[in-house]
């Protein structure tokens, strides 16, 4: 339980810091990998599905946290909807969630070995 909470907090913290500090697009490529590793620690070696969900959760939470932190959430969503339709909102959520989830699964496999 404690390990899970620590890993979740650490995963989100690392994700946001990396996205914030690294240049684009390196930031959004590295953050899912690093936080994916943390997510796999949270999930342990029990289940790949669990690892995927943990990673997805960290990725989506981090992305939304950054939107909230920048104060851009409603306006960014409105502009994204205008320019790209629903995909403008869904694709970023999917990208951050799925990339981190998959990275977490891959890291779990390495841990299992």
């Amino acid at each position: 339980m404690v390990r899970g909470i620590v890993a979740a907090v650490l995963g989100v913290a690392l994700y946001t810091v990396i996205v914030y500090l690294l240049p684009s697009p390196l930031n959004i490529m590295v953050a899912p990998l690093v936080s994916g590793v943390i997510a796999s620690l949270w999930a342990g070696s029990s289940s790949l599905l669990k690892a995927f969900l943990a990673g997805t959760c960290i990725g989506v939470t981090s992305y939304l946290a950054l939107l909230i932190y920048t104060g851009s959430l409603p306006t960014a969503l409105a502009i994204s909807l205008e320019l790209a339709g629903p995909l403008g909102v869904v694709v970023p959520l999917l990208y951050h969630g799925v990339a981190t989830g998959l990275a977490s699964v891959a890291a779990s496999g390495v841990i299992r070995r």
């Binding site: 996205v19 914030y20 240049p23 684009s24 697009p25 930031n27 959004i28 490529m29 899912p32 990998l33 994916g36 790949l48 995927f52 992305y63 950054l66 939107l67 920048t70 104060g71 851009s72 959430l73 306006t75 960014a76 409105a78 502009i79 994204s80 205008e82 320019l83 790209a84 403008g88 694709v91 970023p92 990208y95 951050h96 799925v98 990339a99 998959l102 990275a103 699964v105 891959a106 779990s108 496999g109 390495v110 299992r112 070995r113």
Partner: protein, 818 residues
């Protein structure tokens, strides 16, 4: 390792490579450096900046509405700071505007800018701007302007570097995947060209040519297209004096500047989307409660987010001036200083001429000689935001002795346009900023070529003036056109036979020979794009002026208000916000008289009659939707009969329609023939049916309500988001103008042109009242993106800028450093 893990590893690599493979996604995927990161760009900057080589110091005081008050100990520091602050508030907009004029818009926004680029390049606007800068640089008299433009450019460029290095670029660049290029003085000069394209460029001569081709030259007389006897002039010739009797010295525009260089374009008037109408008036101290003149102005342009205008207060050793500028211009375009206030409306005169030729084997005939057209080639780099790459488009411009050729569907017209040559409007504006008297303001007009404006001006000594003057081409060898009602001289309203040397331009009419009003006996002077003069003193310049309705309404309101007592700024506010529309009343009367009253129509004709008793365009009015939709379709259907399509429908003035209806009701044969076998009664009935179908569909069978279908649409041109959606009162010709983009069953009648700013000055005070339809910030994530719209413009209130009010501590300081 399980297959799931291997698959996950492969997928994660593929997914993470997505931003590299599809860079257009990065603005949406990256919450910090992408689009959402624009929310981190500050509204107001704080601190002290040491600028190498800057002489003097400038302090910036922002007020609660983010209006910057700039106070500087030197002009250089002042204009440097105006540049820095303008860029910090509106950098992308500045970039957009300079590119429109210089023909490289598509390098920024992509293929959507190509038509505009072709026009600007064909007109030769980049060369005109470069030539203007060389004139300014080389003239010792204009060294102050050159220094101001250079200091401004430096300020803009320093902000660009600061923003780039701190990740503070505007949202639009993030979406497009581009960065701004450095600013140069020519970019500030290019704004004058943009305004000329918006306000002075038109293809009315070609539209009239098509009407004459279809119906014969009598249509010019029958529809009263040149004399415009139904129009209401701004001013009486009986009060006019020659400008030469007010101002002294030589006219610069006739001696320093060459005749306008030339241009060409596609047939479409692509800048009509910007709108080109306005109101202004000046009140004599004799009828003003304060004992000093009052002056009001509201230019009607595109309502965009951010707005076209930026509010500034600039105080340097040479100027202390407040008002609005177009971002990119270092000076105040409309506003006041402590002594003088001024305002503009567009003069809808004729500043474009077209020439046609006899052609043989690729050569054109000119005064008996066969000449080869010259050619220029341009390359346009078109940005593709999706692929993050450029593609190259080439255009070739052929020119005759008169100017560039406009070629379309096998036809070729050469074009002359007063806005296409080098010109010193920036000097005119700078001198207005510094003027101490009305006389000095009028004197400044000698630098003004295009777009010619109805200038009203007042000073704190109580002088008022009206001068609709600037670069009017002096045309020679004018041909005569024969009609059944007599001969008329083509003064430029129809294309000229270039092979015969018709309609040659010989510079501009000397400013001294043009009329103006200076302290007339009139208690007020109002202008609203009608014809400037009521007689021949205006030299017959121009023809396709706006209809009379706003001019008439403003004069009615001023007369009514002054009959109640001395006029105040509150009266000015009330007049600017007036939404009664005389044009809808004129059209409703026509429709009521033409529509037969039977079982199908009686109810609606009765509604028109009822509405005419109380012609309201309030947002909750139940009949105004019918009046607007029916009028819109009727005007369009008559125009379609005349012209063969609904293109260029705003060429067709309501006064032309009135002339046609009068002729029709008198039983004139020409009136029936113009309608191509239809009758006006049939067109009134079919447009009623179309209007009812639209209203039923739009309101879904529910109750009609004007403000639901007639609403403001104020959109960011790149990000596409809309700040408005609020119900709009008024109509196409109300003083508080609200012309719909169209009337449509699915979208209603959205309004995207209107008062782009409202300004009122009372010369007895140091206060300027301003209502801006947006906010000072160009950042859609800022609360100052639309706060003036909500706080002032929409609600009929005014932001108050007192030029002598003290400020607290400065937020931002720029000073010289080693």
């Amino acid at each position: 390792m399980s297959r799931a893990v291997v698959a996950s590893s492969i997928l994660v690599v593929a997914l993470i490579a997505l931003p590299v493979a599809t860079p257009a996604l990065i603005p949406f995927l990256d919450p910090v450096n992408g689009l959402p990161g624009a929310a981190l760009v500050p509204d107001r900057y704080e601190g002290s900046f040491s600028i190498v080589g800057l002489r003097g110091e400038a302090r910036v005081y922002y007020d609660e509405w983010l209006v910057p008050h700039i106070e500087a100990t030197s002009d250089e520091a002042g204009f440097y700071t105006v540049g820095w602050i303008s860029a910090s508030l509106r950098l992308f907009q500045m970039d957009l505007y300079r590119r429109v004029a210089l023909g490289n818009l598509s390098s920024l926004i992509g293929a959507a800018g190509l038509e505009s680029d072709r026009l600007s390049l064909t007109l030769g606007l980049p060369q005109a701007v470069e030539e203007t800068w060389r004139m300014i640089e080389s003239s010792p008299d204009l060294s102050g302007i050159a220094s101001a433009l250079e200091a401004y450019s430096r300020g803009v460029n320093d902000y660009i570097e600061y923003a780039k290095s701190n990740g503070l670029l505007p949202a639009e660049y993030r979406v497009l995947g581009l960065e701004p290029e450095p600013w140069r003085p020519i970019h500030s000069l290019s704004i004058a060209k943009l305004l000329s394209l918006m306000l002075a460029w038109d293809t009315d001569d070609l539209v009239l040519n098509e009407l004459v081709r279809r119906h014969g030259p009598d249509i010019i007389v029958n529809l009263d297209m040149i004399n415009r006897t139904r129009n209401v002039a701004h001013a009486p010739c009986s009060e006019a004096v020659m400008l030469g009797s007010i101002i002294l010295g030589e006219t610069v525009n006739a001696t320093l500047l060459p005749p306008s260089s030339s241009l060409a374009s596609k047939l479409s008037s692509i800048y009509s989307i910007w709108g080109d109408a306005s109101n202004n008036w000046v009140v004599s101290p004799r009828v003003s409660g304060s004992g000093k003149p009052l002056l009001a102005n509201d230019p009607h342009l595109a309502l965009t987010a951010p707005p076209i205008w930026l509010i500034l207060h600039i105080k340097t050793p040479s100027i202390n001036v407040a008002g609005v500028t177009v971002p990119g211009v270092p000076f105040i375009v409309i506003g006041r200083n402590l002594d003088v206030a001024w305002g503009f409306t567009n003069v809808g005169s004729d500043f474009v001429d077209f020439y046609y030729y006899v052609w043989r084997d690729g050569k054109y005939l000119y005064r008996g000689e066969w000449l080869e057209p010259t050619t220029r080639e341009y390359s346009i780099m078109v940005w593709n935001p999706a692929s993050r790459g450029y593609t190259e488009e080439k255009i070739v411009v052929r020119s005759t002795i008169h100017g560039p050729l406009l070629e379309e569907n096998g036809e070729a017209f050469s074009v002359k346009f007063t806005g296409a040559g080098p010109s010193l409007e920036v000097v005119f504006i700078y001198n207005l900023n510094k003027a101490k008297t009305v006389g000095e303001a009028l004197e400044a007009q000698r630098y003004f070529i295009s777009p010619v404006q109805n200038l009203v001006v007042a000073d704190s000594s109580g002088n008022i003036a009206y001068s609709p003057n600037g670069g009017y081409p002096a045309r020679t060898n004018l041909p005569v056109i024969e009609t059944s009602k007599g001969m008329i001289v083509n003064t430029g309203f129809l294309p000229f036979n270039g092979s015969r040397g018709e309609g040659e331009w010989e510079g501009f009419i000397p400013l001294e020979d043009l009329p103006a009003l200076y302290n007339p006996n009139l208690p007020f002077i109002a202008t609203a794009n009608s014809k400037p003069w009521n007689g021949s003193c205006g030299l017959g310049l121009g023809w396709n002026y706006a209809d009379r309705f706003r001019t008439l309404r403003i004069y009615d309101l001023l007369r009514d208000a002054s009959s109640m007592g001395p006029l105040s700024v509150d009266d000015m506010f009330r007049i600017q916000l007036d939404t009664r529309d005389y044009s809808l009343e004129a059209l409703a009367s026509i429709l009521a008289s033409l529509t037969p009253r039977d079982d199908e129509t009686r109810e609606y004709v009765d509604m028109l009659m009822q509405w005419l008793q109380d012609p309201s365009t309030d947002t909750d009015d139940r009949i105004a939707p019918l009046v607007l939709a029916w009028s819109y379709y009727f005007h369009g259907s008559v125009w379609e009969k005349l012209y063969g399509s609904t293109d260029n429908r705003y060429f067709f003035k309501i006064e032309h329609l009135e002339a046609l209806v009068d002729g029709y009701l008198r039983g004139e044969e020409w009136a029936s023939s113009y309608l191509g076998g239809s009758t006006l009664e049939e067109l009134a009935l079919s447009s009623l049916r179309e209007a009812l179908s639209t209203l039923d569909s739009f309101f879904g069978g529910g109750e009609w309500q004007y403000g639901r279908m007639h609403f403001y649409r104020i959109t960011n041109p790149v990000l596409k988001t809309d700040i408005a959606g609020d119900p709009a009162a008024g109509g196409p010709y109300s003083v508080n103008v609200a012309p719909p983009n169209g009337v449509d069953a699915s979208v209603g009648a959205p309004v995207s042109i209107g008062p782009s700013v409202r300004l009122v000055s009372d010369l007895s005070t140091s206060v300027l009242y301003i209502a801006l339809p947006g906010g000072e910030s160009g950042n859609p994530f800022s609360k100052h993106y639309s706060d003036h719209y909500e706080g002032f413009w929409l609600t009929g209130r005014y932001y108050t800028l007192d030029m002598e009010e003290g400020h607290g501590a400065a937020s931002l300081v720029f000073h010289g450093g080693g």
